[in-house]
């Protein structure tokens, strides 16, 4: 972090006012961060503050905003649709995260055992490189009730066709399935990198002690993967709570509101129902609070930042 040692301004080539200004660290520092500073203030800091301010107002974008105190928050908390959207979001996260993480660990462990091929790893992240919209489109087609290949397959093996996105009981799990497909490979590659940091010698010692592969996985692999797993879990839970694109393409919040997650709820407040920026921003502030709480609980509970490696050496 030490700065470059700058030569004294009296040296050749550094004389004169311009020379001294051009090498003034304080001035240069601020000059170099100026564009990013403008970007941060205008599009991150002020909007974040403005969100909170708008949430205390009644505002439809056309007439002047009117201060209403906590009325928007009271509106949300007494709105059944809001609680329902929260419940749907949590259900989605509960489908999405466990399955996705377990599959990612399985893929990573198996891949690491047999191959160093970066082509294989590349193939596994391909879905993650695709836009959500396109991935959703793939599955709307594959799961189509009449023509979808998955349904034809299910019919052929005797299970019968399923409505998937069209069935209120299956819709949210189907959306979760789509995102599991998109993210499992990406998370597997993160975990794969974590596996590479575990010293081979630990496994050799365990083998000498007579531990089988299953015992080695639970005793060595999983505990030492914790830092990577914390990263994977924290980032994917935050992302999972903000599910929107897939729903916008596949179900538009339906059928019968079965996939109206929290972002869909907020979106509807801004663009579909009576335009109400106050309620929309209030709901987004509540979402932010939920995300912070969930993240704090996760990092505490998972002891982020600590490694168990020292215990083994």
């Amino acid at each position: 972090m030490a700065a470059i040692k700058l030569p004294a301004s009296s040296q050749p080539g550094q004389s004169g006012l311009i020379g001294r200004l051009a090498n003034n660290q304080v001035l240069l520092g601020y000059l170099f961060i100026l564009p990013s500073m403008i970007g941060f203030i205008v599009f991150f800091a002020l909007p974040a503050i403005r969100s909170v301010i708008i949430s205390f107002h009644e505002w439809n974008l056309l007439t002047d905003a009117e201060f209403v105190g906590l009325a928007n928050y009271q509106d949300i908390f007494s709105d059944d649709r809001f609680w329902r959207s929260l419940q749907i979001t949590v259900t989605y996260v509960m489908w999405n995260i466990p399955v996705q993480t377990v599959l990612a660990v399985v893929i990573a462990v198996f891949l690491e055992r047999i191959s160093n091929s970066s082509l294989l790893r590349g193939i596994m992240i391909l879905p993650w490189l695709m836009p959500n919209v396109i991935v959703a489109m793939l599955f709307v087609w594959l799961l189509d009730p009449t023509l979808g290949l998955v349904n034809i397959f299910l019919q052929n093996i005797g299970i019968g066709k399923q409505a998937f996105f069209g069935d209120p009981n299956q819709a949210i799990a189907s959306v979760a399935g789509v995102n599991i497909w998109r993210h499992m490979g990406y998370n597997a590659i993160l975990i794969y990198a974590g596996l590479k940091t575990i010293p081979r010698s630990l496994y050799e010692a365990a083998t000498v002690d007579g531990a089988n592969l299953w015992e080695q996985f639970w005793g060595i692999t999983l505990p030492l993967l914790r830092p990577v797993l914390v990263f994977v879990l924290v980032t994917s839970v935050i992302g999972s709570f903000q599910i929107f694109d897939t729903i916008a393409v596949a179900t538009e919040g339906g059928p019968a509101g079965a996939t109206r997650t929290i972002i869909v709820y907020i979106y509807e407040q801004v663009f579909e129902r009576r335009i109400n920026m106050g309620v929309a921003t209030a709901a987004s502030v509540v979402l932010f609070a939920i995300l912070i709480t969930v993240t704090i609980i996760q990092t505490r509970y998972l002891r982020a930042g600590q490694s168990d490696l020292a215990d083994y050496q």
Binding site: A48, M137, T281
Partner: protein, 313 residues
């Protein structure tokens, strides 16, 4: 497993390799299955895009592994090589009524992702260099505040940013779509700062002694040495901007600035209900996937490596 129990009585040196072979075969089967699950939907999109769009044909041959009556007709429609209004008769009944000139959307996506990548990479690198090399008051505090920007959920910023872009009269312009990401992203600054910190300072100090200005050192020495990380960051930024849906949907719905992700969903919602234009949709999807696949073919290994890096930040 049967093989295992049969070998139970024999000597260890014979049993060991056999056991490993079974494990390897199972591992390969699991990995092979995952690769199949990952790649098959892409094949199915292509297969559908090349199929005769007539609903009767699609229905009768829904599970054929190869395209039925293979044709480029869908690509010609989607790329505007055939005027939709000239398609007459029975065949037009289930074709999308939407405007389907994907060249325009492809161009728009390139403009948006290109501008965001250029601005964000340049200005974030400048800031990162300042954070890594210069000493100025509040440097570390400013950097920390930038990092908190990573934790704010998109929706909290989207609503006030949408209001701001609307008040500036930039709805429906490239400037409006690009603005929030053009000057910085907290991740980009963090990413580049890591590389600048680990860069040896000798060359820069030598250039200083020779009388180069600090900007000259940044531009002619530090930046060229950072070609690898800059390319990686550029790729990740480009893919992220290319995949964005909600923001360009909010501010750039107008035909003239509509990007691919938004266009694809508009195209889908314009298809007639009962019998969607699947072949056309999948041709559009294929066209949208091609640029990402090309990036993947040329830079796949770099993307994989950078993802592995991001897990350890």
């Amino acid at each position: 497993m049967a093989t295992l129990s049969r070998t139970n009585g024999t000597a260890t040196e014979i049993r060991e390799p056999k056991r490993l072979n079974v494990a390897r075969i199972i591992t390969w089967i699991v990995v092979g299955f995952m690769v199949f699950i990952t790649l098959f939907p892409f094949y199915w999109v292509l297969r559908t895009a090349l199929t005769d769009p007539d609903f009767g044909t699609l229905f009768a041959h829904a599970s054929d592994l190869l395209p039925t009556n293979a044709t480029l007709f869908n690509f010609e429609r989607v790329l505007g090589m055939i005027d939709p209004s000239t398609i007459v008769g029975q065949e037009s009944a289930n074709l999308s009524a939407g405007t389907i000139n994907f060249w325009v959307y492809l161009r728009n996506s390139f403009i948006v992702a290109g501008l965001v990548t250029f601005g964000q990479t340049l200005f974030s690198s400048m800031a990162a260099y300042a954070f890594a090399r210069f000493k100025f008051p509040l440097r570390d505090q400013i950097f920390f505040v930038y990092l908190t920007g990573l934790m704010i959920p998109g929706i909290v910023l989207f609503i006030p940013n949408f209001v701001l872009i609307k008040q500036l009269g930039l709805i429906g312009t490239f400037a409006g779509i690009v603005a929030p990401g053009f000057l910085m992203s907290p991740f980009a600054i963090f990413f580049m700062r890591q590389f600048f910190i680990s860069l040896n300072k000798d060359l820069e100090e030598a250039a200083m002694l020779d009388g180069a200005t600090a900007f000259g050192v940044f531009w002619r020495i530090a930046i060229p040495l950072m070609r690898g990380p800059l390319l990686t960051l550029g790729l990740l930024t480009f893919i992220g901007a290319w995949n964005e849906y909600l923001w360009p949907f909010l501010v750039g719905r107008d035909e003239s600035v509509r990007v691919l992700t938004v266009a694809l969903n508009v195209f889908k919602s314009q298809t007639p209900q009962g019998a969607p234009d699947w072949a056309g949709l999948m041709a559009g999807t294929t066209v949208s996937i091609v640029p990402t696949i090309l990036l993947f073919i040329f830079f796949g290994r770099r993307v994989v490596d950078s993802i592995q890096f991001s897990g350890f930040k």
